[in-house]
Symmetry: C2
Subunit: 725 residues, 2 copies
């Protein structure tokens, strides 16, 4: 998982709100009577037909949550570090596949040979005039009594995947969070980064962009560290949830998506491939040597960096030394040799075939590979998935079969650039594009407290409804909806424009309605050795009720999408979202030679289409007992296909300018921060360029991008209304 | 319509085989008893359910053909020249729309504002040392008693649409058919074309490519003429079917598709547009002044061209002077001023809504606009469409309603680059791509004798079956199938890779199974003033039974596609086609560093998918009386969607290299001849380049293109088999 934009600092502000310790098998206390009555009522007319209503199984599903099951799976999955491409991760795949097979869900492994990156040699030393050299150990220390101390040796040495191999000795420059604006500040203040080693702290933008920005500023190498202000404002693990002084955030720096040797296509057997050298010379690779270091090592370097004092918001927390910009006198000697090698990864795919509509898919996905133990990232999600599967198996024993096919996916090599999910989506592109109703992603199920959701907007209402039926795991008298409403200061529902997790290929490459959710927003031991079962048990989710809550809403949304005759999609939220985006653009281009009228026209068409569909649905629903689609399933199929394919119509076959893999013109990553979830990314990029260059041609590009989004919105309106011109 | 590759010469060989004159309302003599018995039998079990079987209506449809109706419509449509963008063509649209509305088929006009091209000023004169100058009249003469003499003045002056405006005085060079190899021959024999006027004859490649090849060879202008050897080997119109001495082939020279101001998107109201200047500077525009001239004028020029004698196969027919290469001493003074202007075009769209599956479309299309009267091109097709509609209306009165929606389309501005159909497809892209079963094109319904079909291969078997049920219009004891089998010397069924008619956007841009058919293969008065009702009545189809035959097979195929529960698609023909193509590639790359193994693997997968589907269908069809899909229409829908979407999977979103509008990787135009219908066009282009340059990189490009087609074939195999990896 890649955390949300700026969440490391946010994580500090939202320290886990821990419930008091309690026995793990805490009985669920959230069974409001009205819901049960509603269930019985909803089931009644269906009972006449000897088949329970979908809502019956939904309530049954909610009642079956088991924190023990979730905890047991998490413990089993995290006994050892299990990095993508390792034997340990293959063993974890077997665990997942066995668990799913044991419910007699047909389950298979899909292997791909892909380019992964491991460290072969690393060293970092610090020197400065008049001082002894320091050679950093680059090791994360275990603590006395750590039950995972022995297997910790199996963890990959701290590194940044796909960093260039090389050796650099040069003065250090401090670059704050390594954003474009941080390097611009250095340039404006006469700090020359060329040929230097840039020291930047994790947390505001994707680490791959930090290294890329350093490279673009001319740095010869980059060192990234976890600043205590962001990651350790309180007691460190194992005494508290925060990052220990030697903790290091390991991670990926490739800014592309999927296997680097197969850009745009699947890594199938015998397929076309770039050579490793070609793949490594891509502009999506960092291109310079880079290493991540601990807070302690970062601070040691900063203490020897002189020059002008850095601005206030570049400084550290209490007790930190004064941060200065450099360059020097600290000199860093960094050596990194990477081992970029083809390795086999394995997705686990498990299919619960639909009874009435087997050729329509509701896909649930989570990844399995982890930088270390992965108790939070990603196996809290894997545990939730397996707990959810356990409940579906119970449902099946009670006679349930989904109307549509439910597919449970456990991806591999997400950490290396969403590789497992991307290759699978590319391999099955035509099938998935014409048959997938929705993709529901959970990466880290539990990182702390609070409920956070991102989704394509037609799912907003469904999420709200479902969250009202699930218990708040931290407060037995409340619903998850209450927790959600209390968790978000700015916007309630995030969007899926960023490259944060495995939804990327589904949304951005082929236009599938998708969501991503988690309990908790950020956590300090992210991608470090300390992301283990003990951390989860002590700080993340002692009762494992948060895991259950995620499994509950995940499964409930899946059941509603798989079982309801008419898909519970609401496109009026989408229309509002498109309109808000247009208003934002309007503010940004005020006074410039750009007309938004095509965009306004297309949104108007889209809104009319939404109204038309709602009217049709209302007319049909007047036959409550025996709606027309029961007599003619093709009628429902028509409406459902319109609902399903509308999202697809937001994709344009040529894709974003200069980033052709990204086909979705409404949601896609911003050019300078892969975590950024911009609406209308093509327009955003063009406006940024036009504001910088202010040429007539650059404003024409803005207009062109506005026309492009208008065209896909018009296509979507036609699909939703079901009309031809 | 653009004729088939090399058909002008072929036309000479296949002079219309005229049946003896006979009264127009010749009773159909082809009602073999077995067919009627089969009809009754097939209808029987359905009658128990009080609904006749589809085959009942199919036989009824065949029995309703009316040559009088076809003739009356053709006469009405061709009373005046009706070029795209003119008032006369708008009047023709009203005729078509009224005819369709009169059957109470909901009918609408879809207007687009597009860039058309008209001549504003033209002059051409010939001079040579020691002779008086000749100024050509550039007029096609009418004949004594021509009933259309008066309205002939309304015809557009002879010109080549989108030719560049300009004035050129230069020596003439003779360039045979203006192919790449013809200009290569001139270069090899020391004939410098630079700055000269290239004189080339029509007939072997698309005229737009002739002008482009001349430009690429350095010519300052081009003059295209109709050589008597190809167009007038016998008695000229009105005494015979051949081109009169002053007849001129008018036509388009734009090599793109659709409105030149909206490449890649629809010309909707308020849409983004290139300026006229931008559009005219596209590489798809001829870029030099050019004019078409008559055979008489062409010969006059050739008589004054000296230099080396041209090779034998560059010479004219009996009585022609000796053709020499030039340059000079003939000097041509050519002035052309074009009026490129935005004009309104109108498609007519008529919808017969399906009863069971209204959201699945079977689309029939023909264009309406003509360079002059258009009796052959295209209104023989329009007359057939209206005659067919008349029969469907009779069926409707007898209780028929199609299972799927039938859409009758009458396109505008086809002659200017398939504009009307292309804009409509672009505008409705997302809808059409997910809902269209097939597109059935007829441009010229009747040009002479013989039956010629092009199709995507899954329609091959259906076409054969249907043709056996339709009477040979020239022989009452035979079927159309017999005529077809006797008509084709080389291959039986053409393919749709070329840019010949309105199927282009359907097949090549969005991957819809399509066909195109005609009775007759080429005709001499093509695109001249003499393509009028008199020509058709005297030579093309005196009895109008050929029109009826085209309407019969067109409608029968449409009825089978619209009414049968399982789509009558056969993909084993497609597999064989893919395999033949692979064998051809194999021969061309023998000994080169190229592996076909990915292609062989993908074709193997495709063949397995075909077998799997056939097996499934066979298993289902054991319940003949009450097949499973009658109980569950979604089962049939699943199979039909797989059959329908398989063709779509042959498209790749990025399209052909450097020609991104062309998304279909199996069928697309060859780079140097827009008429060419290559299989695997991307591979073909790459091989041509590699054979020319023979660099390692160029052979890698061939390998890349082989991988690309392998990938789409693998996608298609997954779609057809309905499986996910």
């Amino acid at each position: 998982m890649r955390p949300r934009d700026g969440d490391s600092a946010a994580a500090a502000a939202r320290a886990p709100l821990l419930p008091p310790p309690a026995p793990r098998r805490a009985a669920a206390r959230f069974h409001p009577l009205p819901l049960l009555i509603a269930a019985a009522f909803a089931a009644s007319y269906r009972l006449l037909l000897f088949a329970p209503a979908p809502s019956y199984y939904q309530y049954l599903f909610l009642s079956l949550g088991s924190n023990d099951t979730a905890a047991a799976h998490l413990r089993a999955l995290t006994v050892r570090p299990h990095l993508a491409g390792t034997e340990a991760n293959a063993a974890a795949a077997v665990h997942v596949a066995s668990a799913l097979s044991s419910h007699s869900f047909p389950t298979r492994l899909t292997p791909y040979s892909v380019l992964l990156s491991y460290p072969a040699r690393r060293s970092l030393s610090l020197s400065a005039p008049g001082r002894d050299d320091t050679t950093f150990a680059l090791t994360q220390e275990t603590y006395p009594g750590d039950p995972y101390a022995a297997v910790s040796a199996e963890a990959v040495p701290t590194f940044l995947a796909y960093a260039a191999s090389g050796s650099v000795t040069a003065e250090a420059v401090y670059a704050n969070y390594g954003r474009v604006e941080d390097f611009a500040y250095l340039a404006a203040h006469g700090v020359n980064v060329t040929g230097k080693v840039a020291l930047a702290r994790f947390g505001k933008v994707y680490r791959g962009d930090i290294v890329k920005n350093a490279r673009d500023a001319g740095a010869a190498a980059a060192v990234l560290y976890t600043d205590a202000k962001d990651y350790a404002p309180g007691k460190a693990f194992p005494d508290g949830p925060w990052m220990p002084p030697t903790g290091v955030q390991v991670g990926n720096t490739f800014t592309g998506v999927g296997d680097p040797t197969t850009p745009m296509w699947a890594s199938s057997e015998g397929c076309e491939r770039l050579s490793v050298a070609e793949a490594m010379s891509s502009d999506d690779m960092p291109g310079i040597p880079a290493l991540p270091v601990s807070g302690r090592d970062g601070e040691a370097i900063l203490q020897l960096i002189g020059g002008d004092v850095a601005p206030e918001d570049w400084q550290g927390g209490d007790g930190a030394p004064t941060y200065r910009l450099g360059p020097g006198p600290a000199v860093l000697n960094l050596t990194y040799t990477g081992n970029e090698t083809m390795a086999t990864i394995q997705n686990v795919i498990s299919v619960i075939e639909g009874k009435e509509e087997p050729e329509r898919y509701v896909i649930l996905g989570n990844h399995r590979d982890a930088w270390t133990f992965g108790a939070v990232d990603p196996n809290s999600g894997t545990a939730a998935l397996l707990e959810l599967a356990q409940r579906l198996s119970e449902l099946q024993k009670k006679g349930w079969r989904p109307r549509r096919t439910i597919i449970l996916c456990n991806w591999d090599a997400e950490e290396y650039g969403l590789i497992g999910s991307t290759e699978w989506v590319e391999e099955n592109r035509a099938m998935l594009a014409s048959k997938t109703v929705a993709y529901l992603n959970v990466d880290c199920a539990v990182t702390g407290s609070g409920f956070y959701v991102s989704a394509t907007p037609q799912l907003d209402e469904l999420l709200k409804e479902a969250s009202k039926q699930v218990q708040n795991p931290d407060n037995g008298t409340q619903s998850l909806y209450d927790l959600w409403m209390a968790s978000n200061s700015s916007r309630l529902i995030g969007r899926l424009g960023g490259g944060g997790s495995d939804y990327s290929a589904f949304v951005q490459h082929i236009g599938i309605p998708s969501l991503d959710m988690t309990i908790g927003s950020g956590y300090a031991v992210y991608h470090s050795l300390y992301d283990d079962f003990i951390w989860m048990e002590k700080f993340g989710d002692p009762l494992f009720q948060r895991h259950v809550a995620v499994a509950s809403i995940w499964g409930l949304v899946a059941l509603r999408l798989s079982d309801e005759e008419i898909l519970p999609f609401n496109y009026s939220c989408y229309a509002a979202e498109l309109e808000n985006g247009a208003m934002e653009i309007n503010e940004r281009v005020l006074g410039m030679p750009v007309s938004l009228s095509p965009l306004h026209t297309s949104i108007k068409e889209f809104k009319s289409a939404v109204l038309k569909l709602e009217f049709e649905l209302k007319a049909l629903q007047t036959w409550k007992i025996w709606p027309p689609w029961r007599k003619n399933p093709l009628k429902a199929r028509d409406i459902n296909d319109r609902l399903m394919m509308t999202e697809r119509a937001f994709t344009e076959r040529e894709g974003l300018s200069e980033r052709p893999w990204y086909k979705h013109l409404i949601y896609g990553p911003s050019l300078h921060n892969d975590y950024g979830a911009e609406l209308y990314p093509g327009v955003d990029d063009a406006i940024q360029t036009a504001k910088r260059t202010n040429t007539s041609k650059s404003w024409q590009s803005v207009q062109h991008e506005i026309h492009r989004i208008s065209r896909v919105i018009t296509q979507a309106a036609l699909v939703l209304s079901g009309g031809l011109t």
